[in-house]
Amino acid sequence: MRYGVPLRPAVAATMLALAAPALADSLMPAAELSDTQLPDPKQEAEAKALMETLRCLVCQGQSIADSNAEMAGDMRALVRRRIAAGEKPEAIRAWLIQRYGSWVSYQPTLDRVTLPLWGLPILLVVVGVWLARGRFKRRRRG
């Protein structure tokens, strides 16, 4: 490759995208409990289960248990700190939902927006049974 050849836009965009996470990190060490397990295995298991169902606010689409974003580390620390203090996992989830909306949780609650999500499968099964019943009846007669 010759020097001075301008980068193709796609290549430049890729390089920029790769560089972006490096630019967005602080110099501070990770929060105390972000990557350290709790001494009590039962509490740690509770914390882990909750972390796997909370969404990272930065790398959206990953759980905070899987994400390397600093904010996800701070959220893991928050979860472990509160579990260690005796708080129930569902109370911590509710605290986060109160701040970020139900978006932050991977376990959708039943409300007006998520009603089709819970209702449609039941409705489809009922319709399916009804359709199948018609078929069976016809076959018996024929």
Binding site: L23, S26, V58, E70, Y100, G101
Partner: protein, 175 residues
């Protein structure tokens, strides 16, 4: 009846195709809005974020006058880019308090020396605790807090020059 049954699958398909096309073509937003708008600030008390500035707590925010609460960090590049706009707001008479996320006072001092210092009080939030309590999901973000300490407005991302009038209006509306 038979005609309807024959056409139903095509109609259903078109409905689905329409829904998917809408989802694919409409611009998606990755912003997560705080659900704390209209609610009082969470109770907090932070250590000083930079030398020469008072530390920040909830009581300091409920002074009877509306404030801007700027969530920033010295390591955040858009925060440097919005500094002139914050300066402009400060010059217009708006009190601006700040929370420095995952930062050290000496780094914040360097940032302020370089990009300007529009802030009154600065609190240091080293593990994003207060940020999460506010429902903020990144830096920079700017909240409008009214005189009673109730969060009135959230601006996500850097303040562009064209955002200044809207923020000024939001501060005035919070009076």
């Amino acid at each position: 009846m038979r005609k309807i049954v024959l056409w139903a699958p095509l109609v259903l398909f078109l409905v689905f195709a329409g829904v998917f096309a809408h989802g694919l073509l409409s611009p998606s937003s990755r912003d997560i809005r705080s659900q704390m708008i209209g609610k009082p600030l969470p109770a907090f008390s932070l250590p000083p974020g930079a030398p020469g500035h008072p530390p920040l707590d909830r009581a300091a925010m409920a002074t009877g006058e509306p404030h801007l609460l700027n969530i920033f960090a010295s390591w955040c590049i858009p925060c440097a880019a919005e500094a002139p706009q914050l300066q402009q707001l400060a010059e217009a008479g708006v009190a601006i308090d700040a929370i420095a996320i995952r930062d050290r006072p000496e780094d914040v001092a360097g940032f302020l020396a370089r990009w300007g210092d529009p802030y009154r009080a600065i609190g240091s939030d080293v593990d994003s605790r207060v940020q999460m309590a506010m429902g903020s999901s990144g830096v920079p973000e700017t909240f409008v807090v009214d005189g009673k300490g109730i969060i009135r407005h959230q601006h996500i991302g850097q303040i562009m020059p064209e955002d200044v009038p809207a923020l000024l209006a939001a501060v005035r509306a919070a009076r």
